[in-house]
Amino acid sequence: MNDTNEMLLEFESKSQNESFARTVVAAFATQLDPTIEELADIKTAVSEAVTNSIIHGYVDRIGIIRMRCVICKDELTVEIQDQGVGIENIAKAMEPLYTTRPELERSGMGFSFMEAFMDQLEVESKLGEGTLVRMKKRVGKVDRLKESVTASQ
């Protein structure tokens, strides 16, 4: 059985595409048979990453955001990449409640939510070149539970 799948999407860094990106990821992840809670987790994490690219990556201009999703067995990988300004200090940016844009009422919880809702989070960034956020999550815990129950019987 072929248990890998991949998709690539490019869209403009306009705020109305935040819900578009969430919907696309959710639709793609459906083939892993996620629980409603897992789907909500993935949507939230993607929403945070895409919003960061729009607000912080491209600041006051429109650029292209690239979203790549890979399914490998029961694991979903989502990459959100922009060619924006980049992050000067990634560790600082990831601190809870830290934000460079308090005037926009940014809560500083974006990276915290990505970390909380996904299993794994990696951030690569270079000043003037852009940022790549890579998140991984194992999906379909209900199936795995069933398997373990069956295996133990």
Binding site: S15, E18, R22, I36, T44, S47, E105, G108, G110
Partner: protein, 128 residues
């Protein structure tokens, strides 16, 4: 009670707006009609702040009965309105919260400063 949903007060174009607004005494009720993300947060913030300033609003209720998604931008909107009303003794409540939205509130610690109620009516009774 002023109901901006039914009357053309310029706050809503039928079915398209991200939220509808209702004022009951000094309480502003924001009925969210869409997912509370950054895109919608910008508009909701602008409209809510106009209503808060013009109507001497003290308390604010965010009603999630038609919204089952929120991210950190929603936290920002609620925190921002909290900072606006806290100085006049105002309070913030959320109602009809779905379980994904409830998780965001719990994780962010927002329940330390806002009230959660099952319905708008119970929230109004508690606030007014």
């Amino acid at each position: 009670m002023q109901d901006f949903r039914k009357h053309g007060s310029g706050y809503q174009n039928a079915g398209e707006e991200e939220a509808t607004y209702e004022i009951n005494k000094r309480c502003l009720i924001i009925h969210l009609n869409s997912e509370l993300d950054h895109h919608n947060a910008v508009r909701i913030r602008e409209k809510a702040d106009k209503l808060i300033d013009r109507n001497n609003i003290k308390h604010i209720i965010f009603d999630f009965s038609k919204s089952d998604f929120m991210d950190s931008a929603g936290i920002g909107v609620i925190m921002g309105r909290y900072k606006k009303v806290i100085f006049i003794g105002g309070k913030i409540a959320v109602t009809n919260v779905s379980s994904p939205v409830d998780r965001i509130f719990r994780l962010s610690g927002l329940y330390k400063i806002i009230e959660k109620h099952d319905t708008v009516d119970t929230a109004i009774n508690s606030l007014l």
